[in-house]
């Protein structure tokens, strides 16, 4: 298929999937222009015209970038993110901008100023978040791959909920230049794919050191994995803390089946302990808001975006703009973040959370030092929950990320692989690898993938 034909086909699929509310911006002219641009660059790149949906917190010049926030409604970036440039260089096609929890803060994509995203298998359920729009589009077959972003599980968790592959690379593997900052020490551009191979191809295209991001690191390129014959010689750790007694039975069944498969393929499995796991969610909900409070200070209505309170004094303009421009969850996190950095509270919260982060990271390092090649865990404690179920209780919502946030704090690569279904809803198996061992992680996933029959009931 030519790139122009590919663009046309995507346009039709985007139109048909409108009810998901997964897309915030797309247009036929933009797609045509994109197809033209990419074919000029050369369609023989490794992505060869693959359409890729882009989470709307990654800046693009052709389409607006809103972060699903009123405060950036209509905002158009004058530059493209590094990952967008790299995607095009590899022959990838920017298909559309996808819906998300406002500024990527949320686990259900219900906190979007532009309406919630529907789960492709059950419109009453959430697709997970914050990259719910990207996950839903891949699951619905609109695009084979999509970019999301992770701060604390925002790709792996929706990937598990929607039954697609979600890959979070090591912190520093992919440039953050052009990813709208939420928690800068945690943020990673991450990838959804219908298959491990699609996700790996996109990751390989966007990865690599970028002189415009001081936290990006030089490393050998990511390889598109070739499935192994078996998993002989590899040792897998099962962290006991990730299998609590109240784990959803369907999730447990799905992961158990995957672990049995690993053993059947010759992999060695043994329990390990990551004792500081229980501090991951509280640590995350101190550090991420602290960084977010500073990162979101720039949305003040002065230079760009929406301005409210015209004619009032400066302070009132700030108040009106930010009070009306940000949604409740964003405001909550800004308040939390401001609080934990305040004089007199810094040591009790921010400094303590940093110390906890060091312990959490050390847990993983210790486990890998004992000869474990990768860790296997459930990606989420439950399958996709119903819309509205956790909106009234932020802490319940935060706990949806209980198995994904520690990895983010440690900056490790991790992947969620579809591992069957429970009562029709997808289950995700999480594979966690040591820092910058994406190749090992992807090859394990590619080896398991053909055996896992992702749509099979596991309970």
């Amino acid at each position: 298929m030519t790139i122009a034909a590919e663009a046309l086909a995507v346009a039709e699929r985007l139109e048909r999937s409108a009810s998901l509310n997964a897309v915030l911006a797309w247009s036929r002219p933009a797609l045509e222009a994109e197809a033209l641009r990419v074919s000029r660059i050369g369609s023989d790149g490794p992505l060869a015209g693959m359409p890729v949906a882009i989470k709307d917190n990654i800046v693009t010049t052709d389409l607006p970038t809103t972060c699903a926030s009123r405060i950036l409604e209509g905002y158009r970036s004058p530059y493209d993110a590094t990952v967008i440039e790299r995607l095009r260089l590899a022959g990838g096609l920017v298909a559309c901008k996808t819906n998300l929890d406002e500024f990527a803060m949320g686990s259900s994509t219900e906190h979007s100023a532009f309406g919630r995203v529907r789960h492709p298998l059950d419109p009453d359920r959430v697709p997970g978040g914050s990259s719910g729009g990207s996950a839903a589009l891949v699951a619905a077959g609109v695009v084979p791959a999509a970019l999301g972003s992770e701060t604390g599980g925002s790709v792996r968790q929706p990937a598990a909920f929607c039954g697609v592959v979600g890959v979070k690379p090591s912190y520093g593997r992919v440039s953050r230049f052009g990813l709208v900052a939420f928690g800068s020490s945690l943020d990673c551009v991450s990838v959804f794919g219908r298959t491990v191979s699609d996700a790996a191809r996109v990751l390989a295209a966007i990865a690599g050191h970028d002189p415009r991001d001081a936290t990006s690191r030089p490393a050998p390129p990511v390889q598109v994995p070739v499935p192994r014959a078996d998993l002989r010689g590899l040792t897998f750790g099962l962290p006991t803390e990730y299998f609590p007694p109240d784990l959803d039975p369907g999730v447990r069944a799905g992961v158990d089946r995957a672990v049995a498969l690993v053993q059947a393929l010759g992999g060695t499995v043994r329990p390990v302990s990551l004792p500081h796991t229980r501090y991951a969610v509280p640590t995350y909900y101190v550090l991420a808001p602290a960084e977010a409070a500073a990162n979101l200070a720039r949305y003040d209505g002065v230079r760009y975006g929406v301005r409210r309170g015209a004619g009032l004094d400066l302070r009132s303009v700030y108040r009106a703009t930010r009070g009306q421009g940000f949604g409740r969850e964003v405001q909550r996190r800004i308040l939390v973040g401001t609080y934990v950095l305040s004089a007199g509270y810094y040591d009790a919260y921010y400094a303590k959370a940093q110390a906890a982060r060091v312990r959490i990271t050390a847990d993983f390092e210790a486990a890998f030092l004992t000869g474990v090649d990768a860790l296997l865990t459930p990606t989420t404690p439950t399958p996709a929950f119903r819309a509205g179920a956790k909106m009234a209780d932020p802490v319940q919502m935060y706990l949806a990320d209980i198995f994904v946030s520690a990895v983010s704090l440690a900056g490790l690569p991790a992947l969620s692989l579809p591992a069957g279904r429970s009562e029709g809803l997808p289950i995700g198996l999480q594979i966690i690898a040591p820092s910058f061992e994406e190749d090992r992680m992807l090859s394990i996933a590619a080896t398991l993938e053909p055996h896992l029959s992702a749509t099979a009931e596991v309970r």
Binding site: C67, S77, Y79, F177, V180, S184, D213, A214, A297, A343
Partner: protein
Amino acid sequence: MTAWETVIGLEVHVQLATRSKLFCGCAATFGADPNRNVCPVCLGLPGALPVPNAVAVRLGARAALALGSTVHPVSVFARKNYFYPDLPKGYQISQFDRPLATGGEVRCESPDRGLVAIGVTRLHLEEDAGKLIHDWVPGRTAIDLNRAGVPLAEIVSEPDLRSPTEARAYLGVLKQVLVYTGVSECSMEKGSLRVDANISLRRPGGPLGTKTELKNMNSFANVERALEIERERQRTILDGGGRVEQVTLLFNADAGTVRPMRGKEESHDYRYFPDPDLPPVVLSRAWIDAARAELPELPEAKRSRFQSAHGLSPYDATVLSAERPVADYFEAVVRAGADPKTAANWVMGESMPGYNEVGAFAVSAVRLAGLIGLVKDGTVSHPAAKRVFGELGAGDEAPHAVATRLGLVQVRDDAQLGAWVTQVIAEHPAEVERFRTGEPKLLAFLVGQVMKKSRGKADPKAVSERLLTHLEAS
């Protein structure tokens, strides 16, 4: 009335002499049209990230080393959070609990205490904010972000200064060192040097009093003046049994007053925390040693070497070492063969007035040395050499050629001199007679006559010797 002791500390911000800003590639130059030198990074656009400018780090380290500070192998950029329209990101990237350097001192001459060493508390790097322009559009405030992200070093002194005059002396020496090392242009007019001053009064030896902070001084003289005014204000309050309030005061140079700052001045909690976009600045021992090795000879060292090696007076040594281009020029003249003391006189007397006016030397060091040589070997007289100097600036003609063209080369041709002397003796028999009968002052008259005949080209010393010989012989 018991005496009060004045305690002053200074916070000096200098713009580092980089081509680009601290965290992006935009030009850091002064004077561009508003909002020309901006990009997504320094505008704080969504998704943009800072990348540290290595040159700024090097200049900061160089400044620190020149002040004898300890440059730390690891320092950390932090976010200083506050809202203001001139601050695009809503935070300023600065350094807080882990600055680039700590310690060090500035030695300056105090009028009452002699040479004093003023401690340097710390030196850290930070980005500048933009500038608000009020009423550029009538009734509105415009924002120019050209300065946003310009690299600054903040140098904080210990409260070691004891008078406004000392504060001014400290600033003079600090500026000299920073200009010398190429760290900063240190121009208060262009905003590349700014001073905030803290001042309090206390009983000698007693605990520190409440301090106030002074801002908005646009020259070293105004820093001194503002401190004097504030010292008087605090003294009056304390003498009257009152208490000084901790406030920030703006100096008004026209009115000669200080008044409390409004608006921005609530007590701020800046909520500093390490900037997660920027890894710690890690400097190896070798890197720091190389930065130290790269330091030029500093003014103080140069001054004493000019005295010991070149035999200059303390005054001359001070004048000639005050600015690096002058010192370099002087030494180049000496290297080109001129006697140091003569070179010093020429540089101070002839070269510096032009330099002070236009900031450059019209006559190269080599040509000046050549001219000095012409005086020394008697080719031109000293007054004639000054005329030659005036002509030298214009082109690249050699000093000797200029002297020749102007007809200023002294005639030492014996025959010619002899002819002129004989003629003068013949033309002035009366004066010759008076000289011989005991009026020696007439020799000067006769020399003058010979000089006149030579149209100034004769060497007066040779003329006088020749005259004496003739007068005694005949």
